[in-house]
């Protein structure tokens, strides 16, 4: 009867290789592995899985309580499982059951267990790569590395008394070991973190003390399953304490039969070549030499990840950080995605969806079905949220239809459930345990993707609001704000702004928290205000027209903003000398108007833009010299084409102004009648376009007004029909109109 305790480094390829060798030598008849014992039944699925995979433990009905135990191919635990399944040896997981772990609440009190004691030893020995230390120091000493490790850990743990969770975990490990011994297994191998070796090796203490520790632990019902994992997630987080930063490198160390440095750098060269960078074999030779030289300089017998990275940087990448980044992403971390087999129990994400489908009375059906949602009803609103969330996860169960005619509180969806949707859910299982959490995580991931565009991010914000994911908003908004800051094209900012303002208002209506949004809208507007004066210079006709559309869109968006004043302005008493308006504080509207006003005074504007800005300012009551401006624009000094463009800009969207302001009409009239024949022919197409856009009654009214006053005399006429109004009789009508406009006092 013998018990061998193999202390390993979690996710250590050196440990993994050693475990495999040791198991083949020991040929145990039972294997105990650190991990949740509820997973014992899941071990038989292992041959069908492709790592990286993770054991997921969750509490049914309480999806936010979950824990993951990830395994890569180079994890010693995984190698032990694979050995056991191929040799037909029973596997027992011996850590504290997930039922207790999950019941313990959020606090992860590991009682001072160092996350990576072997890594700490390696660091103390001057290694930055624990795996190279393992190879140098542990592998080449004694019969088996595990004796060395056990000795080292016994020394490290001397005088340490486990407490809290750690004590419970080790007590449970001993308890499982005792049970296995009692069942009559003769040769038992225990695979556990190196730290725990001294607690398990040697004669076991009496069971009563351990039972006392384990008595009365809180307990919940926990379920376990396998989920696919990625190296990216392995790098960021891991259930066995510290995440590992270089899964790809570890995979390589585990996989490469020999000459790991040479193979790695040759692989890096291949990655760079794929991207079209010229990397020759001579480069690889020199980088291998440099890695060796660096290791010697640092007094290390072998080059580790640090040295090969420096060598790749200096030789293969020629100092280019982007190329180094590429190697980091593709090779050091790696993009491997695991797979699980068909028989794997359902993941909580699927379970959560099933739950919600039942609650919201939406059955997954393979046939097309159209549903109509009234967002004012809570049930329909929840349905809409669910469908929007699923779309974020790439589960296109529902496709939104075109039902805009009925108002914004209605949505039409076409529902069709396809089998691949289940796969999508399993693939996203690692993102979270509920649809909402997973969708939020996914939105944040999308936002964090460097290639996201400004337009993409704005639409993502809208999608987050539609899907009611306030928890994802901070990250998305941060990405958006960073993007907006770096975008040099002010038209892109202007194009994005209206959507953000809409989202801001929509959020207000829904009661969604959009605290960050207001600040971003404000800073985007600020940037637009700073950038616009530069953007309006040197435009041709087409560019002016398209810029104008953006100006109009931003203008109407600004009108939707709250008129709260900006934070106090430290230098408000020091108005800037040039483009002064842009630096003056006040509400967003004031800043915007100030900017427009500053631009409209410039001499080098395109006629269309100047005309339009004058109109906007006039309509907002910012301008009392519109007549003078028009007169300036229409005067002989201006080229007729520019004057015509001015008129087009000024009158765009309705000629009523001309009907009601005889002075302006007079200016246009004087200008027109003063043109020579050739000049008139030149500007005729523009005028035709401008006036042709007015509704027929307006055109007629303008014509009648002109006929009534005679050529060149329009401005002498006082407003005609206005003076015989019966104010008494008009008052009720005026009051009604005002109340419709929302300004009524009656």
């Amino acid at each position: 009867m013998s018990v061998s305790v193999l202390g390993v480094r979690h996710h250590g390829p050196g440990s993994a290789r050693a475990v495999r060798r040791e198991l083949e030598r020991l040929r145990p008849d039972a294997i105990l592995i650190e991990g949740p014992p509820e997973a014992d039944v899941l071990v038989e699925l292992a041959p069908g899985l492709e790592p990286p995979v993770a054991l997921l433990a969750h509490v049914p009905g309480e999806p936010s309580r979950a824990a993951f135990w990830p395994f890569a191919v180079f994890s010693p635990e995984w190698q032990a499982i694979r050995y056991a399944t191929s040799a037909g040896v029973p596997v027992r997981f011996c850590d504290l059951p997930a039922a207790h772990t999950l019941a313990g609440g959020d606090e992860h009190d590991d009682g001072g267990v160092p996350a990576d004691p072997i890594g700490a030893l390696a660091e103390a020995a001057g290694y930055d790569d624990p795996e190279r230390w393992w190879e140098d120091v542990v592998e080449h000493r004694g019969d088996t590395p595990f004796e060395v490790i056990a000795e080292a850990m016994a020394a490290v743990r001397e005088g340490h008394r486990p407490s809290g969770r750690e004590a419970a975990r080790e007590a449970y490990m001993r308890k499982t070991l005792r049970a296995a011994l009692k069942q009559g297994f003769g040769r038992i191998a225990v695979i556990c973190g190196a730290w725990h070796v001294p607690a398990l090796a040697g004669p076991l203490p009496p069971a009563t003390a351990d039972n006392a520790v384990l008595r009365g632990l809180p307990k919940v019902k926990a379920e376990l399953t396998w989920v696919p994992w990625t190296y990216g997630r392995l790098a960021s987080w891991s259930g066995y304490g510290a995440g590992i930063t270089s899964p790809g490198w570890y995979h390589h160390l585990f996989d490469a039969p020999d000459r790991p440095v040479e193979r790695w750098l040759a692989g890096a060269a291949a990655v760079l070549r794929d991207e079209g960078l010229a990397v020759s074999s001579a480069h690889v030779i020199e980088s291998v030499r440099l890695a060796g030289g660096l290791a010697a300089l640092r007094g290390r017998p072998l080059a580790g990840l640090g040295e090969v990275t420096e060598a790749a940087r200096a030789v293969l990448c020629e100092g280019d950080d982007l190329a180094v980044e590429l190697i980091q992403r593709r090779m050091v971390v790696g993009d491997r995605l695991g797979h699980v087999s068909d028989g794997t129990p359902m993941v909580p994400l699927q379970r959560d969806l099933r739950e919600q489908q039942r609650r919201l009375k939406l059955k997954p059906e393979a046939l097309d079905r159209e549903i109509d949602l009234d967002l004012r009803k809570p049930l329909d609103l929840d349905r809409s949220h669910l469908l929007h969330r699923l779309r974020l996860l790439g589960v296109e169960w529902g496709t939104p239809g075109q039902a805009r005619g009925k108002g914004t509180f209605r949505e039409t969806w076409t529902l069709q459930w396809r089998p691949e949707h289940d796969l999508a859910l399993i693939e996203h299982a690692a993102l979270g345990t509920t649809v909402a959490a997973a969708a939020a995580r996914r939105a944040a991931d999308l936002a964090g993707d460097g290639s996201a565009t400004l337009a993409g991010l704005t639409s993502l914000v809208e999608r987050c609001l539609l899907a009611d994911l306030p928890q994802a908003l901070p990250e998305v908004l941060a990405a958006l704000s960073a993007k907006a800051a770096l975008d040099t094209d002010v038209t892109q900012l202007m194009a994005a702004l209206p959507a953000m303002v809409r989202a801001h208002r929509y959020g207000d209506v829904r009661g969604t928290s959009v605290a960050g949004l207001a600040a971003i809208v404000r800073s985007m507007l600020e940037r637009v205000c700073v950038g616009l004066p530069v953007a309006v210079t040197g435009l041709d006709d087409d560019a002016a027209a398209s810029l104008l559309e953006h100006v109009d869109a931003v203008h109407s968006a600004v009108a939707l903003l709250d008129d709260a004043p900006a934070p106090p302005h430290p230098a408000a008493d020091h108005p800037g000398p040039a483009e002064g308006a842009a630096g003056v504080g006040g509400s967003p509207r004031e800043r915007w108007m100030g900017t427009l006003r500053g631009i409209s005074d410039r001499q080098d504007l395109h006629g269309l833009i100047e005309g339009r800005l004058t109109r906007i300012l006039l309509d907002s009551g910012e301008l009392d010299d519109a007549g003078d401006r028009m007169s300036r624009a229409m005067s002989r000094g201006q080229a007729p084409a520019r004057a015509a463009a001015w008129v087009e800009g000024f009158l765009a969207g309705g000629g009523l102004l001309l009907v009601h302001d005889p002075r302006l009409l007079g200016l246009v009239d004087d200008w027109l009648t003063g043109l020579s024949g050739d000049q008139f022919t030149d500007v005729l197409p523009l005028l035709r376009r401008t006036f042709g856009g007015f509704p027929a009654p307006e055109r007629r009214a303008i014509g009648e007004r002109l006929r009534a006053t005679g050529p060149g005399a329009a401005h002498h006429a006082e407003a005609g029909p206005a003076h015989d109004l019966d104010e008494h009789r008009a008052a009720p009508a005026v009051a009604t109109v005002l109340s419709i406009l929302g300004r009524g006092t009656a």
């Binding site: 660096l294 060598a311 200096a314 020629e318 600020e526 530069v534």
Partner: protein
């Protein structure tokens, strides 16, 4: 010593002797010190060796390992990141001689890299080795020392390419005499180049391949940069014999912060992104802005460095390209500087000059 600026090997002769005495590690052929001692010489120890380069140790280690593996070293970086400084000290420590220097300019001729002729002797005696004027590179090859090439990318491309044979074959043919100069062991080349300047001649890939590239970064943390800047500003002020001024660390910190934020494109708290202007905004420029400000404060002000003394200098350093940089600067001023309540004076001063 009456020279204005002694060579590194003279100025730090004591430290070099000290290291050589205790150095029992293997030295590559032709080296005065072991690679390990060279690293110590550059980075300093806490005891008798002063640090020459303030920054990441790994950079120096890669540079030394490159030289030790007999590869040419290319130090790359924006202006003011101590490229020349590092190359001088490396050459001084490795071969005890930092004077074999080729300065790259638009007018550098091939003779500066290969060899020229003493025409009087050439005409009188015909071609002979005596009539030959060796370049610093040729001398370095003959003596097994390190040659330095400053501002490699400023040289015309055809002159740059003259280095290819030297670096790959380690020999310099002299066809006129039908002979060659073969490099002695210990020969190597340290080149510096600037990757963010206008008017540079890109290295051909054939030449680039023969170098290991080490990029010298701008200082990693604000503290480090403030430290470098304030030390250098004090030194410069002393050597220029400026009148004493009260230079608050606060003002230095502010200038460094502005430079760092605009250079990195993100504020120091990591919360706000800003655009980066076209200029390089190196530490060296921050130093010159401050020295300039101190001169202003000393000669025209009340002897205290105030925001208004540095504002004009900062704007001048940031706005290199009149249209786009001005937008960048205004955005920065309005979205970042204005929000900082303790930067009010500075904001006002900047608005007055921009």
């Amino acid at each position: 010593m009456t020279v204005l600026r002694p060579h590194a090997e003279d100025q730090y002769a004591e430290e070099l002797a000290l290291l050589a005495k205790d150095d029992d590690r293997p030295r590559p052929p032709g080296w005065k010190l072991s690679p390990w001692a060279v690293t110590t010489y550059i980075m300093g120890d806490s005891d008798r060796i002063t640090p020459k380069y303030v920054g990441a140790r790994r950079i120096v280690e890669v540079a030394v390992a490159t030289l030790a593996t007999d590869r040419a070293l290319l130090l790359l970086g924006v202006p003011g990141t101590a490229k020349t400084w590092l190359s001088e000290h490396l050459a001084a420590a490795v071969s005890g001689d930092s004077t074999l220097l080729v300065q790259g300019t638009a007018g550098t001729a091939e003779e500066a890299v290969r060899y020229g002729w003493n025409y009087a002797r050439l005409l009188a005696e015909g071609p002979s080795i005596e009539a030959l004027t060796p370049s610093p590179v040729m001398r370095a090859m003959a003596e097994g020392r390190v040659a330095r090439v400053e501002e490699l990318t400023r040289m015309p491309s055809d002159v740059q390419d003259a280095l290819i044979t030297v670096l790959s074959e380690k020999t310099l043919p002299i066809p006129e005499l039908n002979r060659e100069v073969q490099a002695e062991r210990g020969f190597n080349v340290i080149a510096t180049a600037n990757d963010r300047d206008r008017g540079v001649n890109e290295l051909s890939s054939a030449l680039r391949r023969r170098f290991n590239t080490v990029v010298l970064p701008v200082p990693a943390t604000a503290e480090e940069e403030v430290d470098i800047v304030s030390r250098r500003v004090t030194q410069l002020g002393r050597s220029l014999e400026l009148p004493e001024t009260t230079t608050g660390l606060e003002e230095i910190r502010r200038v460094v912060t502005v430079f760092r934020e605009l250079r990195a494109g993100v504020t120091e708290d990591g919360r706000t992104k800003v655009k980066s202007p076209s200029g390089t905004l190196s530490t060296a420029e921050a130093i010159s802005v401050l020295t300039n400000g101190i001169a202003l404060a000393a000669h025209f002000g009340d002897g205290v460095l105030r925001p208004s003394d540095v504002a004009a200098g900062i704007v001048g350093a940031v706005v290199q390209e009149p249209v786009s940089d001005r937008v960048v600067w205004r955005e920065y001023l309005e979205t970042v500087v204005r929000e900082r309540s303790d930067w009010r004076d500075f904001y006002r001063a900047c608005r007055e000059v921009s």
